[in-house]
């Protein structure tokens, strides 16, 4: 059943569908399975990346750019069209059903842009935003460090003001897309004497600077999607500090309200395709009549549908003007725990065959082996399941926070 979001949205859907039909280059949909789930660790990542080098993709990018359909949720004056979450969701749904990709600008679009829009000066907006929309600047994130995990505010990277420059020294970790980035947005400690969350600044740096080096961190799945980065006295003009010195924590916590929820109704799509693949695997292995396997498959199907139902409900709420609440944390907890369990089910369905990997150098894996291995990271990165449960309990249920450790308490 398709969600009825009222006549205006129905018209928008019809328009965007027509636009896609008219403008999507021939052959683009066939270049790659654009909307399959790419699990962290990047199984299938190479093939899709190759497809983005194709002429049809470049042409599509140009069409989208001309129609302000890149960063479409950004306000018009910054290159977007101020699309609300419901329209973003419909846009995503229509791209998916046409089998063509959404061209997005990664963290530049989802994190840097909103931070600059909300906290930047007009000069900063003019300097940084257009280059994100155009694709000139590709950002990677410099938040996590070896010593910080769930406790991001414990970061140690130093930022020292030197004249009209800031000099940044420290080590960052879990940077994805480092190889494709020419910029990094960094959190650094600019006031070591301030309380933990104060004294942090949000700075945009040149990731091609010689004082920057990075190396891949290999994951248990064999892939190396993340990097660790060494910032050895990287200099940036003070102009690149967003939101003012020592105000970085607030800046980092920014997301634009109207952006949230735009992917709610398309999140399940990749999982749904994957589910049917698994059902097919079970049939091929002759275990689809096994009552235990059937229970597992029915469970997995239910979870995927629950994601769909929840996404539609979120979307319906957005259409009625409700702001999303703890859905983001619930959704993260849901899909990451689901996918971890799905990996276990899948490797069980592979059975004895799951013991054997494909031939090849390095550590190549089958699709299901990769899901099994890489999904373990899903409950850790972007806020562990434990952190999500804290957020859900404290923000949605208003349960009390942990007491702070006392100076002479057990935490010593």
């Amino acid at each position: 059943m398709e969600l009825d979001l009222g006549p205006e949205i129905a018209q928008f859907r019809a328009d965007i569908r027509a636009w896609i039909t008219t403008h999507a280059p021939d052959g683009l949909a066939e270049l790659a399975d654009w909307n399959t789930l790419i699990t962290t660790g990047g199984y299938g990542y190479g093939r899709r990346t190759a497809a983005t080098q194709h002429e049809a993709y470049r042409q599509w990018e140009a069409e989208l750019l001309a129609a302000r359909l890149i960063c479409p949720q950004w306000p018009e004056q910054f290159g977007g069209q101020g699309m609300d979450a419901v329209r973003v969701a419909v846009f995503n749904e229509e791209l998916d059903s046409a089998g063509v990709p959404r061209v997005n600008r990664g963290m530049g679009e989802s994190l840097v842009g909103p931070s600059v829009i909300v906290h930047g000066t007009d000069e900063q907006r003019a300097a940084f935003l257009p280059r994100i929309v155009s694709g000139e600047d590709v950002y990677c994130q410099g938040f996590s460090e070896p010593g910080t995990g769930s406790d991001l505010a414990g970061l140690q990277t130093k930022g020292v003001v030197d004249g009209d420059e800031i000099v940044i020294t420290g080590q960052k970790l879990w940077t994805s897309g480092a190889a494709r980035a020419n910029k990094m947005f960094v959190l650094c400690r600019t006031d070591p004497d301030a309380e933990k969350h104060a004294g942090i600044s949000f700075v945009l740096i040149d990731f091609t600077d010689p004082a920057v080096s990075y190396q891949p961190v290999r994951q248990m799945s064999g892939a190396a999607e993340f990097c660790e980065d060494f910032l050895d006295g990287v200099r940036a003009p003070l102009f690149n500090v967003i939101g003012g010195l020592n105000n970085g924590w607030r800046v980092a916590m920014t997301t634009l309200g109207y952006e949230r929820g735009g992917s709610a109704s398309t999140l399940h799509l990749g999982y749904e395709r994957e589910f049917w693949e698994l059902a097919q695997t079970a049939r091929k292995r002759g275990v689809s009549a096994d009552p235990l396997v059937r229970q597992q498959l029915a469970w997995a199907y239910s979870q995927v549908q629950l994601m769909r139902f929840s996404g539609l409900r979120t979307l319906a709420g957005l259409a009625e003007g409700r702001q999303p609440g703890p859905e983001a944390s619930i959704s993260k907890l849901f899909w990451s725990e689901y996918h971890k369990r799905l990996g276990e089910i899948a490797i069980g369905i592979e059975g004895t065959d799951g013991l054997i990997r494909p031939d090849g150098d390095g550590y190549p894996t089958t699709y299901w082996q990769n899901v099994f291995l890489s999904s373990r990271a899903g409950t850790i990165y972007s806020g562990t399941s434990e952190i999500q449960r804290n957020i859900i309990a404290e923000r949605a249920l208003k349960l009390p926070r942990e007491p702070r450790p006392t100076a002479n308490g057990a935490s010593r």
Binding site: Q295, S302, L306, F309, Q388, R389, L397, L399
Partner: protein, 373 residues
């Protein structure tokens, strides 16, 4: 499909909740659960007269108010939250649904207005002594007398929801190779009704013995299986809505207690052992809410997805409600397992709701079949 919650629906929810808080609060539920009938006829009548709850999803031409199942799901959610013990699911969902699903216009006209007003309390009798929820398991026999003399039923039904308080029993019986639906008057000769003591005392069941009981055929002698299949799917979703209501209430109880109960100088809700559990429960209840809303919309639109979402919802709701109700006891500690505390009422309802209409693994197996695995 319309999934949002309209202002009108919010008002409906609020008025049902007020009504139940006023006329059927938990102390009243406790009193009534010790009775054989399990409900107060005056409150039942008021629910019909003042709020029109029984007829909410019955078309206006049959005396109802013609809202959709989306509205009825809201009513069911509130009834589940309040552990209301009256024959709503039996009469307004099972029986009304069977009549609507049957192609028998005469029967609809004859029975639905009474059901819609609440004057008629109806139920559907399909399960028998083996407790199977499969249509194939029906053994109760219907025999046609000489032309025009109607039908007679022989056999036994069990686990019949409100079977001893209904005044109209819709019976699924075997007409040779087929199943058919029959209307039986509660006072019919040869019908013996025995109330059964239930694990969940707020939900009454009965055994019905039929000895040459006169019955009126509804629809055709062959279409009982199709009607039953539709009715069971809708009932599964209706019960899912009740389970959602109960689960939400049990979670609210647990969270509330976790905030005010101090141990070791802290509210117990500040300990992650409690806190993280509550977060997981919220995730489940919220997911169930999304599923019930979707499923109710599917019923309202008569979508082809109904059979799939029915089994999905029944399985998930059963798991979630039982999980929440069990954790609610654990979070309450000692008082949580006393008779005086309400936690056990939800716990028992959760398990009874799971066992009624087939448990979670039964419905997962059906779901696998229904999606073609």
């Amino acid at each position: 499909m319309i999934l949002g919650v309209s202002a009108e629906q919010e008002e409906l929810r609020a008025s049902v909740r007020r009504f139940l808080a006023d006329r059927a609060p938990i102390p009243v539920v406790r009193e009534l659960m010790d009775t054989t009938d399990g409900f107060d006829p005056a409150v039942w009548r008021q629910a019909g007269d003042q709020l029109g709850l029984q007829g909410i999803a019955i078309p206006e031409e049959y005396g109802g108010s013609g809202f959709s199942f989306a509205e009825q799901a809201i009513v069911l959610e509130e009834l589940g939250a309040a552990l209301y013990g009256g024959p709503y699911l039996a009469s307004a969902v099972l029986a009304a649904g069977a009549l609507l699903a049957s192609g028998d216009e005469a029967a609809r006209k004859a029975y639905l207005p009474g059901i819609a007003s609440g004057e008629t309390i109806a139920t559907v009798a399909f399960t028998e002594e083996d407790g199977s929820w499969e249509p194939d398991a029906v053994r109760l026999a219907a025999a046609e007398l000489d032309a025009g003399d109607g039908w007679r039923l022989d056999g036994r039904k069990s686990f019949v929801l409100d079977g001893h308080t209904a005044n109209l029993v819709l019976v699924v019986a075997r007409t040779g190779a087929h199943l058919a639906l029959f209307a039986v008057d509660a006072g019919a000769p040869g019908l013996t009704r025995t109330p059964l003591p239930t694990l969940d005392q707020t939900r009454k069941l009965a055994r019905l013995d039929f000895e040459s009981v006169p019955a009126v055929l509804i629809g055709t002698p062959e279409d009982g299986a199709a009607v039953l299949s539709r009715v069971l799917d809708v009932a599964a979703i209706a019960q899912g809505a009740e389970q959602l209501g109960g689960a939400q209430r049990a979670l609210d109880m647990a969270v509330e207690y976790a905030k005010v109960r101090y141990q070791f100088g802290r509210p117990i809700g500040s300990f992650q052992a409690i806190k993280h559990r509550c977060a997981d429960l919220l995730l489940e209840v919220e997911s169930l809410r999304s599923a019930v809303q979707y499923a109710a919309a599917a019923v309202a639109e008569d979508s082809a997805e109904v059979p799939v979402v029915a089994s999905l919802v029944k399985a998930y709701a059963s798991d979630v409600y039982f999980h929440v109700a069990g954790e609610n006891i654990q979070i309450h500690g000692g008082i949580g397992f006393t008779w005086e505390h309400d936690a056990h009422l939800y716990f028992k309802r959760a398990k009874a709701s799971e066992l009624f209409l087939g448990d979670a693994s039964y419905h997962r197996e059906r779901l696998a079949t229904r999606i073609g695995i």
